[in-house]
């Protein structure tokens, strides 16, 4: 018998994923949509569709379009609101082994806090992933994610409101991710997710208007992978908490690249649309790769590309001291 390979991931505060392959918010609904095509209980975690305090109808259409090596989406956070999400799905989630990480969005600190409060203690909810890249109407249209002070403030407020493990998702649309990542860490986040989509637009075929109904969309897919790698590379060196990478993962090499720049886990997003079976296959391939190189844990792959470190990476992400 071959020795077991340890694929488990400790994201802190008791959130231990069975393996480091998650599915990304917005690409996997509430976990039930792909039905029999995907065995969800094999996944390392599921980040559900962005959930807000009140129901949102979302943006005008078209909402999605393919671009070279990627796609733009501007769904506009269509969702039935946190209470409806809990009522409709949490009973199913509670029967699953896979940790359900509820992605939370809001327009004000109070929104985020209230959603977190309502999710706290709900069986089936394993953690919260804060989407702080949506417009902060309370502060005049600023995104929480592009300002270290605002990012820290919303993180700290949610931290006080819930005991659930707290992941905060970074936006790539910033000049320097490091002060923002540090502010979120200091505010009490358990882990970071990087990256959210890059802001972009597409032009309608008649060139008389932008293609998307909302003009702006978020770019995802293989096209964003180099940007995601760079931001994960910078974030993992700036903070001690674990970083979950996301951005254009389509095969095992992508997973290994993100681990190499210090991520402890990866989320698969856009690639699910083309191949819903990819995330589960990546788990098997990662395990096979561990066996191939004789690693007892996938953690041997973490941080190998980072500048020289004083010690080996810890279970909880990478410890790096410049």
């Amino acid at each position: 018998m071959t020795p077991a390979v340890d694929l488990s991931v400790d994201l802190g505060r008791g959130l231990v994923l069975p393996n480091p392959i998650l599915v990304a918010s917005g690409t996997f609904g509430y976990g039930i949509e792909y039905g029999d095509v995907v065995d969800v209980d094999r996944l390392g975690g599921i980040c559900c569709k962005g959930t807000t305090l009140k129901a949102r109808v979302g943006n005008p259409t078209p909402r999605v379009t393919e671009t070279p090596g990627g796609m733009l989406n501007s769904i506009g956070l269509q969702n039935p609101g946190v209470d409806a999400v809990i009522a409709k799905y949490s009973h199913t989630w509670a029967t699953w082994r896979v940790p359900m990480i509820v992605n939370v969005a809001g327009e004000s600190v109070e929104d985020y806090v209230e959603v977190a409060r309502r999710l706290d203690g709900i069986p089936g909810v394993a953690a919260i992933e804060l989407n702080i890249s949506c417009p902060n109407v309370g502060a005049g249209g600023l995104q929480f994610a592009i300002d270290a002070g605002a990012a820290g403030e919303v993180t700290a407020a949610v931290r006080r409101a819930t005991d659930l493990p707290l992941l905060v998702k970074l936006s790539p649309n910033v000049a320097d991710i490091r002060p923002i990542a540090r502010a979120i860490e200091e505010a009490g986040a358990d882990a970071l997710t990087a990256i959210n989509t890059l802001s972009g637009i597409a032009v309608a075929p008649d060139r008389k208007r932008p293609l998307l109904g909302n003009t702006y969309g978020g770019l995802s897919g293989p096209a964003v992978k180099p940007v995601a790698l760079r931001i994960v590379f910078e974030a993992t060196q700036a903070v001690k908490i674990p970083v979950v990478a996301i951005g254009g993962v389509t095969d095992l090499a992508d997973v290994l690249d993100f681990l190499a720049v210090g991520a402890v886990a990866v989320q698969v997003g856009t690639a699910i649309f083309a191949d819903p079976t990819l995330p589960v296959r990546l788990i098997d391939e990662l395990e096979a790769e561990c066996r191939r190189v004789g690693a007892a844990s996938y953690r041997d792959f973490i941080g190998t590309t980072l500048p020289k470190r004083p010690g080996s990476p810890s279970v909880k992400g990478v410890e790096y001291r410049p």
Binding site: E33, V37, V64, T65, D275
Partner: protein, 287 residues
């Protein structure tokens, strides 16, 4: 819904830029209903991250063959035209909800605008199999874009309208509705949004014009069916098959919505692609 590798059997350009392709897909051929669709993955060529949705144009359980009919509009559809017999491709389906025909309906009116024929084509086969009479009203810009009649079952009454008058009625297909709306028990349409909007308006006024009772309403009323349910759709005079840019096609990404008459936007891939006309908001200027 299954993910299956299917093999291309035949491929031909039936109209300029429009292709009809047959695939050997026994599970889809026997387990699908008219109005449903498949989400097809372009090959592993760099740059294309999304599948392409196609209506199931025809299915044949006996031979295990399904066909799709599409126009080449970009890199994905262009890729599909380059497939050769024997090539394998990945289909996710059947997806979405089918047309719902009231068992009492004997006369079905199918209305297709251009490539919209692919959305209603399979319903003609299903309806004939169930012993119903089918009339297809087909609209196109000109004679060179008219769907070949030899691709339709002989039993279908086929009426053509062209914008330029080069074949059949000179004008829009919607001009022909008046002649058929007393004959038809139900109507099923697929095509450009403008066409569907006119049809929805005509259908909404039909009851008053004709003084007909709503199909399926028992004397004394009773509880109405929930909007969007199969039972409610079965009673609707007009059902439409909608089109929208699509991401996942299983209801996860909320990319492919259309505006609802009431409530949140509806997913074309999940609540649709077939809707009763009255479920949709035809005034919202969403494209």
């Amino acid at each position: 819904m299954r993910l299956t590798a299917v093999e291309l059997v035949e491929s031909r350009e039936i109209l300029p830029g429009q292709w009809l392709q047959s695939f050997h897909a026994p599970e889809l051929a026997s387990g699908s209903r008219a109005g449903q669709f498949v989400h097809v993955r372009p090959g592993d060529i760099s740059g294309m991250v999304l599948r392409r949705p196609f209506s199931l144009n025809t299915t044949d359980a006996a031979t295990g063959i399904v066909t799709i009919h599409y126009r080449v509009i970009g890199r994905g559809t262009d890729f599909f035209t380059r497939l050769r017999p024997g090539d394998s491709i990945d289909m996710l389906g059947p997806l979405g909800r089918p047309f719902e025909v009231d068992p009492r309906s004997q006369h079905l009116l199918l209305i297709a605008g251009g490539l919209g024929i692919a959305g209603v084509r399979m319903l003609a086969d299903e309806a004939l199999r169930d012993g119903k009479r089918v009339t297809l009203l087909f609209g196109a810009a000109s004679a060179r874009e008219v769907y070949p009649s030899n691709l339709l079952p002989d039993e279908v009454e086929y009426i053509v309208a062209t914008d330029d008058g080069s074949m059949g009625h000179h004008g829009y297909v919607t001009d022909l509705i008046a002649e058929y709306e007393t004959w038809a028990d139900q109507a099923f349409a697929c095509g450009p949004l403008g066409m569907l909007k006119v049809l929805a308006g005509q259908a909404a006024g039909r009851r008053q014009r004709m003084g007909v009772a709503k199909l399926g309403r028992k004397r004394g009323g009773g509880k109405g069916d929930v909007s969007g349910s199969a039972a409610a759709r079965r009673k609707a005079f007009l059902q439409v098959s909608m089109e929208q840019n699509m991401g996942c096609a299983v209801g996860a990404c909320l990319g492919c919505v259309v505006a609802a008459a009431s409530g949140p936007p509806l997913r074309v891939c999940r609540e649709g692609p077939v809707f009763a006309a009255e479920e949709l908001d035809w005034e919202t200027p969403w494209r």
